[in-house]
């Protein structure tokens, strides 16, 4: 039996019916055509599916869609407003913190969540916040630098 759920996603209210065993990741990708969150392992080990639920980073492959009823979701698609990029995205571009791009949406969302809760992180804070997001290409240093730089820029505003 499908459940009717209502939530806010990328600042828009949505109401849909989902199967009780459907993951948030599947709902995003299959029902809402939001393909920025990726499946890298399906078991919460790689972080490629990271989105924000009520401002906290979650592995959407581990969360059931029914659990987001009444909650607020932000995905990579909602991070920029379509005309300008979020400072974290800008900073990833500036620092060349991207290679294949598959981990990038999850990485950016984890970084965003960190800066929301801690606008002035240390390098160690960043490394800890990103420890659940695997990247096989970059060697991470540029990603860490990008997040620290984004924090500095935001702090100056």
């Amino acid at each position: 039996m499908k459940h009717k759920i209502r939530f806010t996603i990328n600042r828009e209210v949505k109401e849909i019916e989902v199967e009780p065993n459907k993951t948030l990741l599947k709902m995003l990708r299959e029902d809402l055509d939001l393909i920025g969150a990726k499946e890298g392992c399906g078991a919460g080990e790689c972080g490629a599916c990271t989105v924000l639920v009520n401002n906290k980073p979650v592995n959407s492959c581990l969360m059931l869609a029914v659990e987001v009823d009444g909650k607020e979701i932000l995905t990579i698609e909602g991070l920029s407003d379509g005309t300008s990029l979020d400072p974290v995205q800008e900073s990833f571009l500036k620092h060349n913190a991207i290679q294949c791009g598959y981990c990038t949406p999850g990485m950016v969302m984890s970084a965003k969540a960190l800066l929301n809760r801690n606008p002035h992180p240390t390098e160690e804070d960043v490394k800890e916040a990103l420890a659940g997001n695997l990247c096989r290409c970059t060697g991470y240093q540029r990603i860490v630098d990008a997040v620290l730089d984004a924090a500095r820029k935001e702090g100056k505003k």
């Binding site: 890298g40 392992c41 990579i76 571009l93 791009g101 997001n133 970059t138």
Partner: protein, 768 residues
């Protein structure tokens, strides 16, 4: 003055990636899609007695079922030894035996569970050292009849699918003349590429009999050719489209899923069939890095010159070695590492085992052999009482030295790399004991690597000049993250004097983009880069000819500058690219020539086969890339834990077309190398992979990153575009041996096998 080449231009694909907009194969939605699942072998080696699909067929929602007999033709890149589904027998746990396409993933899974297969188990082989024994069970009985490339030498009636020999000088005489002779053994286990994107493929047929395949593949043309052989189809009837690739490192260089979705699609009435691998499937059913046993015997003089070396490399090729055979070849023609040794006997042997399929992995054998070579060098240096860096200096390949194949080298940047790294790691400053339990050490390792590919494989590029003077660049070199889209665009921009933002690159569609052999071997900047340069020059020359007609000035009196062709003498005589893009309009209103399309093609010049018995040859490879890394580590002698504090690296890139992208490659390579050094190992017991997940198979995370000090050296490669040579794979090659050597420097113990776990370190300290 270069305007775009040599500049750290921002990635052309950056914005699509940072917004999550870029599409990978799994993101593609096609209406009517069916979902495929595979029935896998539970045995490492067994005869298939019976496959019964009758129950699965009756399940509602099942559209197609196939087994090995539906795809009977053997295929392979260098040795045609594999079928996409097992026929008559299975050779590894997880090997596809049958496959199903159904309305949903759930139905497909249920259908697979309803397929019944009876097996008769056969004795299996789990080590190449077992596999080469004369009485070993034979894994491929028909090896003698398999087709193969001329550079590969399989041995019929054995498990040896390739044996590359080096016979240079007189090794016995060399050992006799040596003051010391040492023998050492090393082992490198299987690891997995662990790109974050899992493999995925979709196929669809159409009423004209054409098959379209979407897959994240490094080499769309090589995939198309393999599929054409497997399905006995003309090449124009297969279209391979590669969307974005979420990391490759070699794992997406060949064919796997493509050959399974096609026969399913052929039975599915023009509906697309999609197969997505899980992370577990990627560990067990795609390429893994081959395991390797190394034995090295070294003859050295008192003054620290290596005068003889005898090397044996035994590669654990796994169940099929269609690609792996060439890794053994690479291990052979590079068998001593980047050192000048007059007498060499080397045997690099690829052996079938009942392990998952070994294949290309960043480094293509070089990481494995250098782990052995570079530790061996350290051991020898230590035993003769010489500083390991000095020992390397004395034996390093230099201008005029000859390699193991007898190739005489020029433009060797190894010594510059060595000097830079020694400076950056502060080799002479050694602070050994920082506390009672924390010991520090420094280690160094050199490397070289050449693109391992057939001698005569080609690249091509098309440059289309649009009506407004903007440019479309078409190639089939794939950007796996390394940044080739950006680098190739920079090359076109430089020749055409058109800004990066006015060039769009398209890749990866065999119906639209021109031929590229493969995106492997760190060959793209060099091979495809040369073809892009030639295509842009071709377009430029066409426009120069037209401008020459227009102005009545010889071509030589004109130049292309900032998007216009201008007379060198009369600067008022000029015409914009846009005004020539569709041809030249004559004063009477007529037109000539038509649209400007530049074409460029490239094959590395003069690369030739080596002698089958001695491995000797003047130019077996297009070029060599040299690099050096040094590591500083801290070992906790109570826990055995190794922490890498710093890595210094220097590579001779020839010319860094985009320096930031070169730095990014080296950083990524170092961290990948660090993972292989300290924790990565596929635990395989009796053919079964015990750790096929990121919980049990750890790869580095942000917290593992050491301080990195990286330098780019530039000795131009004469045949490369602006002197560029490949850099991406060499970046991880020396990391593991540099760390191993640093661990020895810290605690005085050798860890001769990877990974260097806390357990091994503690045991070594205890046994000291």
């Amino acid at each position: 003055m270069l305007k775009y080449v040599g500049k750290s231009e921002k990635r052309v694909d950056g914005i699509k990636k940072v917004t999550g907009y870029v599409r990978y194969t799994d993101d593609l939605k096609l209406s009517g899609t069916l979902y495929a699942r595979i029935k896998k072998s539970p045995y490492p080696h067994a005869k298939i007695l019976r496959i019964d699909v009758s129950k699965a067929k009756k399940l509602p929602g099942v559209k197609a079922i196939i087994s090995g007999k539906d795809v009977p033709i053997r295929v392979g890149l260098y040795l045609e030894d594999k079928t996409f589904l097992a026929i008559d027998k299975v050779r590894f746990i997880g090997e596809p035996v049958a496959a199903v396409a159904a309305e949903s993933e759930e139905i497909a899974e249920e259908a697979v569970s309803l397929i019944e297969v009876d097996y008769e188990e056969l004795p299996a082989i789990f080590s190449p050292l077992e596999g080469i024994k004369p009485d070993a069970p034979i894994i491929h009985e028909d090896l003698g009849s398999y087709k193969h490339a001329s550079i590969i030498l399989p041995q019929s009636g054995t498990n040896i699918s390739n044996h590359y020999k080096i016979r240079k000088g007189d090794v016995e005489k060399g050992f006799k003349e040596a003051d010391f002779v040492f023998e050492n053994e090393f082992y490198v286990p299987h690891i997995q590429h662990s790109a974050i994107e899992n493999h995925c493929a979709i196929a669809r047929t159409d009423p004209e009999g054409k098959i379209t395949v979407w897959a994240g593949c490094q080499s769309p043309y090589a995939v198309r050719r393999t599929l054409a052989v497997a399905f006995d189809m003309p090449l124009n009837k297969i279209r391979v489209i590669s969307l974005a690739i979420g990391g490759g490192f070699g794992a997406k260089a060949g064919t796997t899923l493509e050959g399974i979705v096609i026969p399913l699609a052929q039975q599915s009435n023009y509906r697309p069939v999609k197969l997505s691998f899980s992370r577990e499937d990627v560990f067990t059913n795609t390429f893994i890095r081959q395991g390797m046993h190394a034995r090295i015997k070294t003859g050295v003089t008192k003054d620290g010159r290596i005068i003889a070396e005898e090397n044996k490399f035994y590669w654990d090729g796994g169940a099929y070695t269609e690609y792996g055979v060439n890794i053994a070849r690479a291990g052979g023609y590079a068998s001593t590492g980047p050192y000048n040794i007059p007498n060499v006997k080397a045997d690099s042997i690829c052996v079938y085992t009942n392990h998952p399929v070994g294949g290309p992995y960043r480094g293509f054998g070089m990481s494995e052999i250098h782990f052995a070579i570079e530790q061996n060098l350290d051991i020898v240096a230590y035993k003769i009482g010489m500083d390991p860096a000095e020992f390397r200096r004395r034996n390093a390949l230099k201008d005029g030295s000859s390699t193991v194949t007898g190739q005489v080298l020029e433009n060797v940047g190894l010594m510059q790399c060595l000097d830079k790294v020694i400076e950056d790691i502060e080799w002479d400053k050694k602070e050994k004991r920082v506390s009672k339990i924390k010991y520090r050490g420094k280690g160094i390792a050199c490397m070289y690597k050449a693109p391992s590919m057939p001698n005569n494989v080609g690249s091509s590029a098309i440059v289309k000049i649009n009506e407004d003077g903007t440019v479309n660049l078409l190639v089939t070199a794939m950007d796996l993250g390394q940044g080739s889209d950006t680098v190739l665009t920079q090359i076109a921009a430089e020749v055409l004097t058109v800004p990066i933002s006015r060039i769009s690159i398209m890749t990866g569609d065999t119906d639209c983009t021109p031929y590229e052999w493969q995106t492997v071997a760190s060959r793209t900047t060099y091979c495809c880069g040369n073809s892009v340069k030639r295509a842009a020059e071709d377009a430029k020359n066409q426009m120069l000819r037209l401008a020459s007609l227009k102005f009545g000035i010889s071509k030589e009196g004109l130049e292309l500058k900032d998007g216009q062709i201008i007379s060198k003498i009369f600067p008022d005589k000029k015409v914009k690219i846009a005004d020539l893009a569709m041809g030249l309009t004559m004063p009477d209103g007529s037109g000539i020539h038509g649209p400007i399309i530049g074409r460029g093609a490239f094959i590395p010049p003069d690369v030739k086969d080596t002698d089958k018995e001695t491995g000797q040859g003047d130019k077996p490879v297009a070029y060599w890339t040299f690099g050096v890394q040094a590591a500083e580590v801290e070992v906790d002698i109570e826990t055995g834990e190794v922490k890498v504090l710093k890595i210094a690296a220097a590579y001779d890139a020839g010319k860094a077309i985009n320096p930031e992208l070169v730095y990014a490659q080296i950083e990524g390579g170092i961290v990948q190398g660090l993972g292989s050094a300290l924790f990565e190992e596929m635990k395989i017991e009796k053919g079964k992979v015990l750790n096929p997940s990121f919980v049990d198979y750890k790869i580095p995370t942000a917290g593992d990153v050491p301080e990195m000090k990286i330098s780019i050296i530039e000795n131009p490669e004469p045949t490369g575009p602006w002197g560029a040579r490949g850099i991406a794979e060499p970046c991880m090659v020396p990391t593991a041996p540099a760390i191993a050597n640093a661990v020895f420097d810290a605690i005085g113990c050798r860890i001769n096998s990877l990974p260097i776990t806390a357990e091994k370190v503690l045991k070594a300290i205890k046994n000291k």
